[in-house]
């Protein structure tokens, strides 16, 4: 399931990323909180200790005097056996007594300092020891003396650290528990969200490759759309295949009839002894086989045109030039049949991108059709805007209701034994491979047929 660039991994990492960031933030906050809580708890000891000392400070013999209570220091030791330091300074900053020369704090002196005590806490480094310093600024309550002094006590931070670590450990359990729960939930959620995708994939893989029936399985909305799209594609493929099957059936039928004719004619001729008869049979057979060969050619080119994979390399060409060349090629044949073949060309070149052999084939087919259905006048016409190639005749034409049907293969307008019913279908295929639109219309004066290929405008320029 987990593979490079998988949806699963992408979802997981995008959901995990904010979770991890949030977790980190929570950890940091928990650490700060633990430290603060531990400091608050232990600062009480500094407060109590300075208070106990302050109560023992007196004015005696013209100087500050202290009977240091041992308990004031013992309470600072705590369970962690902290190192303890204390010192008393008078108002002028002179050391009175103590076991260490502790630094003071840079705190502003309060205005009403004669009546209130001020307490300050600070983390300091002193002789390579990390200490927490508590400073109390107070004064003596005596009848006349109001001597101010400062008590500084400090102890190492080990007890605080232990408490902070203990608090943090408690919080860590909580945070890790939550993170684990969230991760598991996320894991399960993503798995179950992606499970229908796996189902769909299995359903597609398990299908018989020849089956084109629609997919029937319950899926969530987003995937149901995909399923519908797939089903539409399958439906189109079904239609295409039905067309192909019909085409193959028709094609076999079309090929079988002339072949059966050939076989019958040959059998008949073999029973004769007269060479003249043989000659007649052979020429008839030659004619039939030529027609059959042409039919096969047409089927081949139609198959090629119908292949959706077929992407011809289009080249720029002049439609007028093409029309002139074809009229020249067929003029003498038509003239022999007393058909008036002509071309109507604009003064300028009409450039389109296309394959000249295909376009020649299309025009040849159309001219052939017109000749076969008894037209006496055929006009090949090229016009510039939009680029159009048109073949018009004055034959019987096709009623408007049947014009579309004519595009289907093997559909013939009349019972002409020579026609294959593929001509217009091929022209339609060529038009599509050129991106051109095929139009069928009545000829001038409501007689005959006009077939127009309209090319996309401005394409080759």
């Amino acid at each position: 399931m987990i593979r490079r660039d998988s949806l699963y991994r992408r979802l997981l990492s995008w959901l995990m990323l904010p979770m991890v960031a949030l977790g980190g933030l929570m950890l940091f906050q928990a650490w700060l909180d633990a430290r603060q809580t531990a400091d608050r708890a232990f600062d009480r000891l500094l407060e109590a200790s300075t208070l106990a000392i302050a109560e023992q400070v007196q004015w005696q013999d013209g100087r500050l005097w202290l009977d240091l209570p041992p308990a004031a220091l013992e309470m600072l030791a705590t369970d962690a056996e902290e190192r303890v330091f204390y010192a008393i300074y008078d108002d002028r900053g002179h050391f009175v007594t103590g076991n260490a020369d502790l630094p003071g704090v840079d705190a502003p002196v309060a205005e009403n300092r004669d009546t209130t005590d001020a307490l300050f806490y600070q983390d300091i480094r002193w002789h390579d020891l990390a200490l927490r310093l508590g400073v109390r600024r107070t004064h003596i309550e005596d009848w006349r003396q109001r001597e101010r002094f400062e008590i500084r006590v400090a102890h190492t931070r080990e007890g605080r650290q232990q408490l902070a670590e203990q608090l943090l450990r408690g919080n860590l359990m909580y945070i890790f528990g939550m993170a684990l729960l969230a991760a598991i939930t996320l894991f399960i959620a993503i798995r179950s969200a992606l499970a229908p995708l796996t189902r769909l994939r299995r359903a597609i893989r398990a299908r018989d490759p020849r089956t084109l029936s629609p997919l029937e399985l319950p899926l969530p909305r987003e995937l149901a759309e995909l399923r519908e799209t797939l089903n539409e594609l399958l439906a189109r493929m079904r239609r295409v295949r039905a067309n192909q099957e019909r085409f193959i059936g028709d094609a076999s039928h079309q090929l079988r009839t002339p072949l059966a004719g050939l076989s019958a004619r040959a059998e008949l001729a073999l029973r004769q002894d007269d060479p003249a008869q043989w000659h007649q049979a052979l020429s008839a057979m030659h004619e039939t086989s030529a027609r059959t060969s042409r039919l096969a050619m047409q089927l081949l080119s139609l198959t090629r045109l119908d292949n959706p994979e077929y992407q011809p390399e289009l080249a720029t060409l002049d439609l007028g030039d093409l029309a002139r060349r074809l009229v020249k090629r067929y003029w003498s044949d038509c003239h022999r049949q007393a058909i008036d073949l002509g071309a109507e060309l604009p003064a300028t070149q009409v450039m389109v991108s296309g394959l000249d052999w295909q376009l020649e084939e299309a025009v040849t087919n159309l001219v052939d059709n017109s000749r076969r259905y008894g037209a006496t006048r055929i006009t090949v016409r090229v016009s510039a805007a939009p680029p159009q190639l048109e073949v018009e005749d004055d034959g019987p034409g096709i009623p408007a209701t049947k014009q579309l049907l004519m595009l289907r293969p093997f559909h013939r307008h009349s019972e002409d034994p020579d026609g294959s019913g593929l001509g217009l279908t091929i022209v339609d295929g060529i038009a599509r491979s050129h991106g051109a639109r095929l139009g069928l219309a009545d000829g001038k004066a409501g007689q005959g047929l006009r077939v127009t290929l309209t090319f996309p405008e401005g394409d080759p320029a």
């Binding site: 005097w65 202290l66 009977d67 240091l68 209570p69 041992p70 308990a71 004031a72 220091l73 013992e74 600072l76 030791a77 056996e81 190192r83 303890v84 330091f85 204390y86 009175v96 007594t97 103590g98 076991n99 260490a100 002789h127 390579d128 020891l129």
Partner: protein
């Protein structure tokens, strides 16, 4: 404070430490151990002998000092000693508190009872009660003072005959005497009555236990108050005229504290010796061959803290190894205590008599 005793012992005894080459011997520096201690050599010798048996290649240099010079010298040169031993608990504590000691993290150090150590830096390895020693003459004439109250009553009742016959520490001269005074004044306010009564009988003031024991042996004094039990025990055992009394109301107990200086020149040897001091083996030597009192929890029987506790359990008051000791060292507190002590000691007769009659009522 025990210089007298040390001198006494010096004469006939050859000391192991004296046989060792000087510590400046550079090519053997790594296998040298320098101990600065306030523990007389007769007490130290069995320990050193046993230790050297364990580590025959080690050269041990033991220097015995008084407690206060030891403290001052250490502050002046904290990188000279590998192990520092002293019975002046507040001073030792202060050095450890100020970060001069380095921790010992051996299994015996981890298991050492919490009341006998501070962090893993300062280790108490002896158990020495503070006792009274009385002369036979006193017992023949008067009742035996079994506790502080009885001593106070005796001093008050027999003021005239006991004048000049009592000896105790001078708290102004002796660190030990000062430490006991401050601890006793914390234990009971009646201590000051005792000081006043001691003053009334014109108690002689001495600087060391040895000095007091000498005076008692000579018969100059009948009562010696606050003597170091570890020294007194051996002395009294050898002297049938004297008797040691362990007060049954309260008995202070001091402990010798040892630590390894952070700047010890031979830290590995220091660790070895300190670990030995608190090992079962070292403590067994203390219990069996000295009168210092072993405190290893596995040891019991004579010469151990456990034995002391079974006989005098309720009365024993070991000094707490904690920052309370720092208060003892506070200069203002020292001045306040000594001035009060002097005031009480010098209280004139009339005041004293009033106090006596007052307390008798």
């Amino acid at each position: 404070m025990r210089r007298g005793l040390a001198i006494l012992m010096l004469g006939g005894l050859s000391l192991i430490a004296d046989a060792d080459p000087p510590p400046g011997d550079t090519h053997q520096q790594a296998s040298t151990l320098i101990i600065h201690g306030a523990l007389d050599k007769p007490y130290m010798r069995p320990l050193l002998a046993d230790f050297r048996q364990q580590h025959p290649t080690l050269e041990v240099d033991y220097r015995n000092r008084d407690t206060l010079p030891l403290y001052r010298d250490f502050l002046a040169a904290p990188d000279e000693a590998d192990v520092v031993i002293s019975s002046a608990m507040p001073w030792q504590y202060r050095l450890a508190n100020d970060g001069y000691a380095q921790p010992l993290k051996t299994p015996s150090a981890q298991q050492w009872p919490a009341w006998a150590r501070w962090r893993q830096e300062l280790f108490a390895f002896t158990f020495e009660p503070i006792v009274m020693v009385v002369h036979r003459e006193l017992l023949e004439r008067y009742s035996r003072p079994d506790n502080h109250a009885e001593l106070l009553a005796l001093l008050r009742q027999q003021r005239e005959p006991l004048t000049g016959r009592v000896v105790t520490y001078d708290p102004r001269l002796s660190g030990a005497g000062y430490t006991y005074a401050i601890e006793e004044s914390r234990l009971s306010p009646r201590y000051w009555d005792l000081v006043a009564a001691l003053g009334d009988v014109e108690t002689s003031l001495a600087a060391t236990t040895g000095e007091m024991l000498d005076g008692l042996a000579e018969g100059r004094y009948w009562i010696g108050y606050n003597l170091l039990g570890s020294y007194a025990r051996q002395f009294v055992a050898a002297n049938p005229d004297l008797e040691m009394i362990i007060p049954d109301d309260y008995t202070l107990v001091i402990q010798r504290l040892a630590f390894m200086p952070r700047q010890a020149p031979h830290p590995d040897n220091a660790r070895r010796f300190l670990d030995y001091l608190i090992s079962r083996r070292g403590q067994a030597v203390i219990a069996g061959e000295t009168s210092l009192g072993a405190i290893h929890p596995d040891l019991s029987g004579p010469g151990t803290a456990a034995a002391w506790r079974t006989t005098h359990g309720d009365a024993l008051r070991p000094l707490t190894i904690g920052p309370g000791l720092l208060a003892t060292l506070d200069e203002l507190k020292r001045q306040a205590l000594l001035s009060r002590w002097q005031r009480e000691f010098k209280r004139d007769d009339s005041q004293s008599r009033e106090a006596v009659s007052g307390s008798n009522e």
